[in-house]
């Protein structure tokens, strides 16, 4: 069984809590523990924060599309923005560093998700793919 849903949100920091609430609800639906749900919320929130701050330079009203795809025990979250592409060096895996832009958010995302991939190939913007492998007894039933 597979299922999907999509949230389109503008690059407004005050909407982050709305997306977190939706992610929290979905985590509970997937029988995630409170801890797992919190971590999933953190990953999506940090990804959106990076998009707002860096791809759109803090400019509100820009478009972000978040797609959730569940296929068996694989949860894929796609974050599509249409702003500036990140410097490939900035998104490479590295240690947390608060002195650099996105220095903490991305290591946090990598610590929570099983796969993190930046697709810089779209003509405009970036597609960030986050993957979480669910334990066998969870997921779509």
């Amino acid at each position: 069984m597979s299922e999907t849903f999509q949230i389109e949100v503008s690059s407004s920091p005050r909407l982050l809590q709305v997306v977190r609430a939706a992610v929290g609800q979905y985590g509970r639906l997937l029988d995630f523990t409170e801890e797992e749900t919190h971590r999933l919320k953190t990953a999506v929130d940090e990804a959106l924060t990076n998009i707002i701050r860096h791809s759109y330079g803090g400019e509100a009203g820009q478009r972000i599309v978040v797609t959730f795809l569940l296929s068996g025990a694989r949860l894929e979250i796609l974050l599509r923005d249409f702003g500036r592409k990140p410097d490939p060096a900035r998104v490479a895996p590295r240690e947390p560093d608060l002195s650099r832009p996105g220095g903490l958010g991305l290591p946090l995302i990598r610590s929570v998700m099983d796969e993190v991939e930046f697709d810089l190939s779209p003509e405009r913007g970036t597609l960030l793919r986050l993957v979480k492998h669910l334990r066998a007894e969870r997921g779509a039933r």
């Binding site: 920091p13 982050l16 977190r20 409170e34 801890e35 903490l104 290591p107 946090l108």
Partner: protein, 111 residues
């Protein structure tokens, strides 16, 4: 998110409640900057009623710590729920901060 500041002896206690993220962190920063501009000798941040904190909140606390250290003051965190502590652990900042079980323990540690 709500932020309130109260004083207990030499310490200023910043009570934060709710969710700290890119939207709300500036409010916490404003309180911390006010205290550090006034060179408050001990700043305690009570996080016991914080339900969520992302890297924007953590970065704000790091800035507070750096500002307090500049004038030789003390900066302490108290009451972190496991999920909040998780964020500090992932960021490898658990050892950077003085973290206490609750504000009473943090107050007792103020020199």
């Amino acid at each position: 998110m709500d932020v309130a500041v109260r004083h207990d002896g030499r310490a200023a206690i910043v009570e934060v409640q709710g969710e700290v993220d890119l939207y709300s962190a500036p409010k916490m920063r404003e309180a911390l900057v006010g205290l550090t501009d006034g060179r408050s000798p001990a700043v305690l941040v009570d996080l016991s009623r914080v339900e969520y904190m992302d890297s924007s909140g953590v970065a704000t606390l790091v800035e507070g710590l750096q500002r307090v250290r500049q004038y030789g003051g003390q900066f302490k965190l108290a009451g972190l729920a496991p999920a909040i502590r998780d964020v500090f652990r992932f960021a490898r900042l658990e050892k950077v901060f003085d973290i206490y079980e609750d504000t009473q323990a943090a107050l007792r540690a103020v020199r």
